[in-house]
């Protein structure tokens, strides 16, 4: 290793080339800054290479596969589908490569300097980059930390990426597991469970942390439970995880339910327990940067850390580990550096699950709304009454929104069913626009469409329980 003696002068240095980092780089370059983007692996980050994009290739495949048996109703007879994981993986690689090349071209077009290596802060205005055979020192005016996160395991789980898998390795399996035991309750756990079920695996789903249900709105939880049962995905609630052990061809998951031992014998286990911020190797212990208890970098609404010329965005900051957050924050941070007033507000960050059928949610759940506002009204419409859903043979699902009974203010919007991921944007816009119920009901929605459900939803009033 050659230690560089002279620090190169840089303007804006971004650490991490995920959706937060590369978008911040492009935005900052468009503001006229000279930008240096440091990435130790591949540009695109988890989202493009290991996360959102590969997983959506899988969930899309699963969805298409699930639709095959219904095709005969439309006069299309294709016989028994033949699923090839190998072909799917080729397609995944093709999609990822296409998108990555797109990002690389954008970076090049915006004259972003790409540096490969592992970056760590040396002081509040200097950073070192180690790429194995060389160590460069950069002196920067502004630095943006966008190092993202990695799957969290905890509880001494030995993830070997062969039989015991995390959200990266699950999409690199060479064969469809015979019996996949999923431990988790978040969107990744659900997507993996439902996708592999479609691919032919037997799937068992164990809610993590002894939870007795998912974290969605109660109506979604209820319908989701029914759908899992129908899909013959066995759901284990209120179980304490004792151990996950790989024994050759078998993977044993030991649980404790009501003080009784339950042993699940599967071929593979998949663990999804959220994300751990990548802050340890950044050298920020040399700086006096404020971190949360869980190790996230604390930032204000303009993405400033406690050090005035260092910013942080994406999974490395507090809050949900979602690319939608990182992308928005990348706009905010480049505006902030350019001196334009900007702010990030994650109050109405939508949550989506590409399950079968999909789930989408924004704002308060019915329970949260009752807790915070007292008397509320809930509008709900089942897809059974939606003509377009019937045409598609997708009669499972509903949309639901919640308003404050006193002011008619929309508080939350939830959907489970075909089109929910696109539908939720109507709810998000309504919430951001401080809409009241009539603002959602008055507009024209295309007929026939899934959207129509919004104007058809009928209210029921829910009174706050008198607290004793």
């Amino acid at each position: 290793m050659v230690v560089g003696e002279i620090a190169e002068e840089k303007d804006v240095v971004i650490i991490g080339g995920g959706p937060g980092g590369y978008n911040a780089a492009i935005n900052a370059a468009q503001h006229g800054f000279r930008v240096t983007l440091i990435e130790k692996e591949q540009i695109g980050g988890i989202c493009l290479n290991e996360g959102c994009i590969p997983s959506k290739v899988y969930t899309t495949s699963a969805k298409k596969l699930s639709e095959v048996p219904g095709l005969s109703s439309f006069g299309i007879d294709v016989g028994e589908p033949n699923f090839s994981l190998g072909n799917l993986q080729s397609y995944r690689d093709q999609v990822v490569t296409t998108l990555r090349k797109g990002v690389e071209a954008l970076c090049k077009k915006n004259k972003i300097e790409m540096v490969e290596g592992h970056a760590s802060f040396l002081s509040e205005d200097r950073i070192g980059v180690d790429n194995g055979h060389q160590f460069d020192v950069f002196h920067f005016n502004h630095a943006i930390v966008a190092t993202g996160s990695r799957p969290r395991y905890g509880q001494g789980l030995d993830v070997d990426h062969k039989r015991i898998l995390d959200s990266r390795s699950i999409f690199h399996l060479e064969e469809v597991p015979e019996h996949l035991i999923v431990y988790g309750s978040d969107y990744i756990a659900l997507e993996v469970a439902m996708s592999y079920h479609q691919f032919g695996s037997k799937v068992s789903l164990v809610l993590d942390g002894g939870k007795n249900d998912f974290d969605f709105d109660s109506s979604i939880n209820k319908e989701l439970g029914r759908l899992l049962k129908k899909q013959k995905i066995k759901l284990y609630k209120s179980c304490e995880l004792k151990s996950v052990e790989n024994q050759g061809e078998e993977t044993h998951v030991s649980l404790l339910k009501n003080e009784e031992a339950v042993l699940l014998e599967g071929s593979h286990a998949f663990i999804s327990l959220g994300h751990q911020p990548n802050t340890e190797e950044l050298g920020i212990d040399r700086l006096k940067m404020d971190l949360s208890e869980e190790g996230h970098i604390k930032v204000d609404k303009q993405m400033r850390t406690s050090i005035s010329n260092i910013y942080a965005i994406g999974d490395v900051t507090e809050g949900a580990a979602l690319a939608v957050k990182a992308i928005k924050q990348s706009e905010v941070v480049s505006d902030t550096i350019a001196g334009k007033p900007s702010e990030f507000d994650g109050t109405f960050l939508p949550t989506v699950v590409h399950s079968i059928p999909p789930i989408a949610s924004v704002g308060l759940t019915e329970e949260e709304a009752k807790d915070q506002y007292g008397d509320i009204r809930v509008a709900q419409f089942g897809y059974g009454g939606n003509g377009y859903a019937t045409v598609h043979g997708k009669r499972e699902g509903f949309i639901k929104y919640i308003v404050d009974d006193a002011t008619d203010l929309v508080l939350g919007f939830h959907g489970l069913g075909e089109g929910a991921v696109e539908l939720v944007s109507t709810g998000t816009v309504a919430l951001e626009m401080v809409a009241r119920d009539e603002d959602l009901k008055f507009p024209h929605y295309p007929h026939p469409s899934f959207n129509e459900s919004i104007s058809l939803a009928e209210f029921t009033t829910k009174r706050e329980k008198v607290k004793s």
Partner: protein, 412 residues
């Protein structure tokens, strides 16, 4: 049970920080024992026990800033009479607190209503951002408490103090980029806000007029040299203060307070001279009381102790109130040759002393001599006195300084 509340202890305070408790729960105290030390934007003060009794509970943590009327601690008082008195004064304090809603309490109310959600559309939020306004401080008047564009504009027009100049727009030319420095925002509160309030109130109320004069201070400097050689160090300011007091004796209209409401001018008999003092937190005006009854030496000593207290933030309410005339000595700063000082309302006059310079002076028989000359600026309330009397006032003061032996004629 007696609730001990934070009262207005002068200077129009609305809030104070709890610095230190002298007692803890369970302690027994006597009436007038100090219970707690509080810090306002101008001074440190102690709240005494209203009666004999025992401390029940300390309500506010040390380091917390509270508004007037807030209950600081609860004590069990002995004797019903005192109890009644106290509960009465507590009642008096409460509406006073309501009268002066602080911005923080208004913001909290909005926060509680919205449960952390900002009730404004993204477009409205951008208007606020572009004007450097924190949307959470804006009260919504729209349906369901929604913050409208107009609410933001009204907040901006309301002279909000949080406005931050939007920094310069984006930069050009990638050949050499310049860093946009983020503007720094300093909270406009505490003493700075108090000064602003007093200054604008004075300027809005008083018909200010200022004239200038130059005074030969060579002889006073000679006196001081002589005193110093006798180990009697006395500051220039102390001599000026005495000379002002002697001048006020001849021109009592400059030691007056105008009471417009009752159509009266009150002539103060005692001379309480305020001394404008610079501190790291801003200007404050400690007062030397009864200057007319004090010797130059006493004035000098008192001034020294007041200045030290001011710099250490130890001035009490008494040290800062009751002034009848104010002086401002900027001479030692070697700066200005003139100013238009703002009068310390409700006083009538203020004299500022500027730098002293060796200058050629033409004497009676066309002789040029080198003398130490000092400029003064005299601001007066033209509603109470006129230019002519102000000139005679300044003339008399100049006479006393230029011929300091005249001061001895005034010895009682």
């Amino acid at each position: 049970m007696v609730e001990v509340k934070l009262h207005d202890i002068g200077e129009g305070m609305t809030e104070a920080e709890i610095l230190h408790y002298f007692v803890k729960a369970g302690d027994s105290v006597k009436a007038d024992d100090p219970l707690v030390e509080v810090q306002t934007d101008k001074m440190t003060a102690e709240i005494p026990a209203p009666a004999n009794g025992t401390i029940e509970e300390l309500k506010i943590e040390e380091g917390t800033t509270i508004s007037v009327g807030t209950t600081v601690l609860v004590m069990n008082a002995e004797g019903a009479i005192q109890k009644q008195e106290e509960s009465k004064s507590a009642e008096e304090a409460a509406p006073q607190a309501e009268k002066i809603p602080t911005s923080s309490s208004a913001a909290t109310a909005v926060m509680e209503k919205t449960q952390g959600r900002v009730l404004a559309s993204p477009y409205t939020r951008k208007i606020a951002r572009d004007h450097g306004v924190d949307i959470e401080n804006v009260e919504g008047t729209g349906p369901a408490g929604r913050i409208m564009d107009e609410d933001v504009y009204r907040f901006i027009d309301g002279g909000s103090t949080q406005e931050v100049e939007p920094a310069e727009e984006k930069q050009e030319a990638p050949s050499r980029t310049y860093t946009d420095q983020q503007p720094e925002s300093i909270p406009f509160k505490g003493r700075r806000k108090q000064i602003a309030k007093k200054m604008s109130h004075s300027l809005h109320t008083i018909a200010h007029c200022t004239h200038f004069e130059e005074i030969d201070v060579t002889d006073v400097q000679e006196w001081r040299k002589e005193w110093k050689s006798l180990d009697q160090g006395v500051s220039m300011t102390a001599i000026f203060i005495k000379a002002i007091s002697l001048t006020l004796k001849d021109f009592p209209m400059f030691n007056a307070k105008l009471d417009e409401e009752n159509e009266m001018i009150h002539l103060e008999k005692d001379h309480h001279i305020g001394i404008a003092t610079d501190t790291p937190d801003g200007l404050i005006v400690p007062v030397i009381h009864h200057v007319n009854q004090k010797s130059i030496k006493e004035i000098h000593e008192e001034m020294k102790s007041l200045t030290a207290k001011a710099q250490n933030n130890e001035l009490t309410s008494k040290d800062m109130t009751g002034g009848t005339f104010t002086i401002s000595n900027v001479g030692p700063m070697q700066g200005s040759i003139g100013a238009t000082p703002i009068i310390n309302h409700p006083e009538v006059g203020l004299m500022a002393f500027h730098k002293t310079k060796r200058r050629p002076e033409v004497r009676g028989d066309d002789e040029i001599v080198i003398r130490s000359m000092m400029n003064v600026s005299m601001s007066f309330d033209h509603r109470v006195v006129d230019g002519a009397s102000a000139v005679t006032f300044t003339n008399r003061f100049a006479q006393l300084i230029e011929h300091p032996n005249l001061i001895t004629l005034e010895l009682v």
